[in-house]
Symmetry: C2
Subunit: 410 residues, 2 copies
Amino acid sequence: MKIMVQKYGGTSVAGLERMKKVLSRVSKGVEEGFKVVVVLSAMSGETNKLIGLAKEFSSEPDSEEMDALVATGENVSVALFSILAKDNGIKAKSLQGWQVPILTTDAYKKARIVSIDAQKMRAMLEDIDVLVVAGFQGVDCHGRVTTLGRGGSDTTGVALAAALKADVCEIYTDVDGVFTTDPRVCSAARKLDVVSYDEMLELASSGSKVLQIRSVEFAKKYNVPVRVRSTFTDDPGTLVTQEDAMMEDLVISGIAFDRDQCRITVAKVKDKPGVAAAIFGAIAKQRILVDMIIQNTSSDGYTDMTFTISRADLDQTMAILEGVCKEIGAEGVQHDLNVAKVSVVGVGMRNHSGVASTMFQALQEENINIKLIATSEIKITCLIDEKYIELAVRALHTAFGLDKKAVQAC
Amino acid sequence: MKIMVQKYGGTSVAGLERMKKVLSRVSKGVEEGFKVVVVLSAMSGETNKLIGLAKEFSSEPDSEEMDALVATGENVSVALFSILAKDNGIKAKSLQGWQVPILTTDAYKKARIVSIDAQKMRAMLEDIDVLVVAGFQGVDCHGRVTTLGRGGSDTTGVALAAALKADVCEIYTDVDGVFTTDPRVCSAARKLDVVSYDEMLELASSGSKVLQIRSVEFAKKYNVPVRVRSTFTDDPGTLVTQEDAMMEDLVISGIAFDRDQCRITVAKVKDKPGVAAAIFGAIAKQRILVDMIIQNTSSDGYTDMTFTISRADLDQTMAILEGVCKEIGAEGVQHDLNVAKVSVVGVGMRNHSGVASTMFQALQEENINIKLIATSEIKITCLIDEKYIELAVRALHTAFGLDKKAVQAC
């Protein structure tokens, strides 16, 4: 049995005409001899409408009931699409999360998939050509409806492909694939034919929104090659796959950036054990995500502790640090909202020296000052003044040979 | 454990303000020491909206998928109400049909309830004060979502009360209870305090829309006293219960009428075995419901066969009869659209003679000609010219002593 998983987002199922486009792609798969598992999101706008409705009923709607509420959006999509498919003579059937079942944890609003009954689905596929599965949702051990968090339909698609050992997993969206950087900022940006799981993870966590991070983690863990492509064009898209399967050998595969950064510096803290734990323990307790963390070398027994957070968390973080500062005897806390981060990402930097210096030089040539530096195995990130962010992206895109028609690395 | 079942229709849950009214009633039940099982319909208009959407996708939407689609309407209601209840500090939980579970047949769009897991619900009620159950829906043995047909939420309410052996079963609607006749036609109509199951069945099948027929059958079968009352007033409503529990001893408890009637006469058919079977067998095959059936005494070996159907079925019925007429050698078929039926209903007529003659005399005094007569144990129905229907209802209402302030039977 040849199985193909296709996931379509909210804009791809918004209304009859768009669903017809989806149906023609699904039909093509069936004609080619595949059993097709279609994962659908709610029609665009529907989930926000339901959340808005709930907010009228309570300023803090109960999470468990919230999941039961918003999951109805996907249920409408799968029933309507199945009606359309059957009307066109295709053997189809809709499946809500509990009907698969997709068993998840009971962490409502951000549940994680525990298991999927692939055997039952394969048995259904003996008689049925197209199973239409509601994305973003599952059921927990108490028999309650859960949701996987925003963008969770990507994860549903990849998890189903993994469980079913599908031959093909395609994530359809409204862009042509994964780009070297955001084309709205850098007109020379070009689509990548192939990208590795690790690069995709770094790109996703650095601002690229084309795939949800957890779906990439899932794909990597179960080694599911994922093709990201557009519902609205015939472009083959980008294949997200294992490193060794990659055809291209670019050192750097993309430039990511993120404006939602705020730099915090806790000044003149004693350089002794327990200080970092006191600061970041207090912040983590409030579930605030800290991004970059830098501690400079100590001089005269004191050091500065600098880190970045999302701008929305600034007020809460400052309130927490006020208390912590007294406790650890720090001099004070400064913050800077006019910053943004830019990253170069590529598995090739593992084997190539000089990536960091190329990056720093490119920024220096544009007179852009670097405020913080952080590195991982396949990524180098610089925090800079926000006003330079577009300039930095374009300069780095050119410096690393990513511009259109220039496929050679530096 | 004292259990109260309360069912609310679509107008009672349309929006936050109305749901708050529902919540205050539910809270009162909790304060009085009841565990409350609340059955909700979809917000008014939502089911029709979903059906309209499906009709865009297919002229004949698949029934199985249709049920999955429209059931989302009730799921939105129960999640929102639970959010509101929890926000007000009440221990509440929503339950969709499959979560109860309410097991039904797999006759999609008109499924019948097979069983309800009352033990599981009672166990939940140990911790939870208010269970909010989606009306109108269930799950079949294949794990598919089913619906019980229009008005099915009444049946859900009564069935839950029966399964849970509830102490109280209240059906909330937008009228004050069951009336002696439609107050829009007869201003002297008055609300009944008590009505028997059988009378309610006859009233429901003769045009009164206050309770769905199947819910009354269910109540009768399991002897569940049902109180029909308004969400919007404090009127105690009407108790639908066993005959022997009734306090009032009216001969006639109500005048029902139905304009949606069309009279068909198959003229001059041979009076021999098999003729009725040929006619009504052919009609039943097309799932057309026949209401009154009259066959006059035969003269010279021929008879006329007369019956009534819903006006919407006229064209299809005439097409069927064209073929049947040739087969059985009938002279021809006539039809009459300008008819309506009026019925007097009451268990008292079992022990009182003269009800039929009182009815015929009252109609005669208004010069209303009777076209057909049909009787059951507790109902007499006359087919008359449609233009006289309001006049007939008012005349009979007075003749049988049903007018306001006149509580004595004729």
